[in-house]
């Protein structure tokens, strides 16, 4: 297991909410498929559950990781919270299905994890040269490209989940496209600036 010393938060607390019926297995399946499509290694960190006689509340935290190079990785922290969930039987397309009814909130935190500490930053001359080149010649840091990639990946997963939640709600006409989500998130974190630095 690798340890990354430098952590850079790119997306902070991007929340997706859904209230109504849902199937937890389908939610996890949608997340898994999206993660696989984007090349992430699945990792589960935490499961919390509170059960009372009437309802149950859950919290599941996933920390999928994509290793880019030996000392660079992207991580999306996905926090899934089910609130006041109870089992219901609904008729879907003529078939009776056991589903859950309640509130879901999915929160995304996206991180760039690096470990340059033991490479370039431990050598004073290399560290100095990197700083000079970054300041006066051109940005050699891989950060902007990685930021763009982790934002795209998060937007993709967000889009897939949004699509699923809309399907539950029957709002197919108001389905939000992945492109729209990506634009929205990019606006939020100011990706224009990143592209300018890349050019």
């Amino acid at each position: 297991m690798r340890t990354y010393f430098e952590r850079n938060l790119v997306i902070n607390n991007k929340e997706l909410k859904h209230s109504g019926i849902f199937n937890p297995e389908e939610v996890f399946s949608a997340i898994n498929k999206a993660l696989k499509a984007r090349g992430y290694e699945k990792r589960e960190k935490k499961t919390e559950e509170s059960v009372s006689s009437e309802e149950r509340s859950n919290y599941i935290e996933l920390r999928p990781i994509k290793e880019k190079k030996e000392n660079i990785a992207l991580m999306i922290k996905i926090k899934i919270r089910f609130k006041n969930a109870r089992e219901v039987i609904k008729e879907v397309a003529g078939y009776k299905r056991k589903l859950m009814e309640g509130e879901i909130s999915v929160i995304f935190d996206s991180w760039i994890l690096t470990d340059f500490q033991h490479h370039i930053r431990m050598q004073p001359l290399a560290y100095f040269l990197e700083a000079v080149i970054n300041k006066f010649i051109r940005k050699v840091s891989p950060q902007p490209k990685l930021t763009a990639e982790v934002v795209e990946d998060t937007a993709f997963i967000y889009g897939q989940l949004k699509k699923l939640f809309n399907a539950y709600a029957g709002k197919i006409e108001s389905r939000i496209s992945e492109e729209e989500v990506r634009k929205k998130i990019e606006e939020e974190i100011g990706k224009d600036k990143i592209y300018q630095t890349l050019k």
Binding site: F28, N32, K46, T47, E48, E49, S50, N58
Partner: protein, 170 residues
């Protein structure tokens, strides 16, 4: 001292509701027995307070996989405010426990478990070089094996507690 590499770092499970403490313990010990692990109970502490029983258990079962590698799983089990309740199920009264379970799982891979390569600095240097460059593949295999074992145990516990299961394979 053998080298200890962390493979799973603080995998957590928390549950607040009804369960049977002795059954939960049997589920855990049963899994290790089935898989042929050696049992090691590091700590077992129980306090009775007005709010209920407070239980703290630390388990460190291990499995000697080869002469060189050893897998260790560390389970910290804290059960708070355990009270006995009677619940009616199918017309019968069933005695159950109610409380808050907090479980933390860590998994380690121990290399040179007998400490043969630690006796002299040169031997230690050789072992590091061999581990890092020549026998990288067995090390990775062991890591994957340990990850799968912990995943299986974690799912078994979640199945027992009937919590929402995030499955890697769905």
């Amino acid at each position: 001292m053998p080298e200890r590499y962390i493979v799973i770092d603080h995998l957590k499970l928390s549950y607040d509701g009804l369960f049977k403490a002795d059954e939960l313990f049997t589920v855990i010990s049963g899994w290790f027995y089935e898989k042929g692990w050696d049992w090691y109970e590091k700590m077992n502490e129980e306090q009775i307070t007005p709010t209920g029983k407070q239980i703290r258990i630390i388990l460190e079962p291990f499995k000697n996989v080869t002469d060189y590698y050893k897998m260790v799983v560390s389970i910290k089990l804290i059960i708070k405010n355990v009270t006995e309740v009677e619940v009616e199920s199918k017309g019968e009264l069933v005695k159950l426990n109610h409380g808050l379970i907090r479980m933390t799982l860590d998994a380690f891979l121990v290399t040179d478990r007998k400490g043969k390569w630690m006796k002299k600095p040169f031997l230690w240097f050789l072992s590091v070089i061999f581990d890092k460059y020549f026998f990288r593949e067995p090390f990775t295999k062991m890591e994957d094996w340990l990850k799968r074992e912990v995943d299986d145990l974690y799912n078994r516990i979640k199945n027992y507690l009937n919590v929402f299961k995030y499955s890697y394979h769905s």
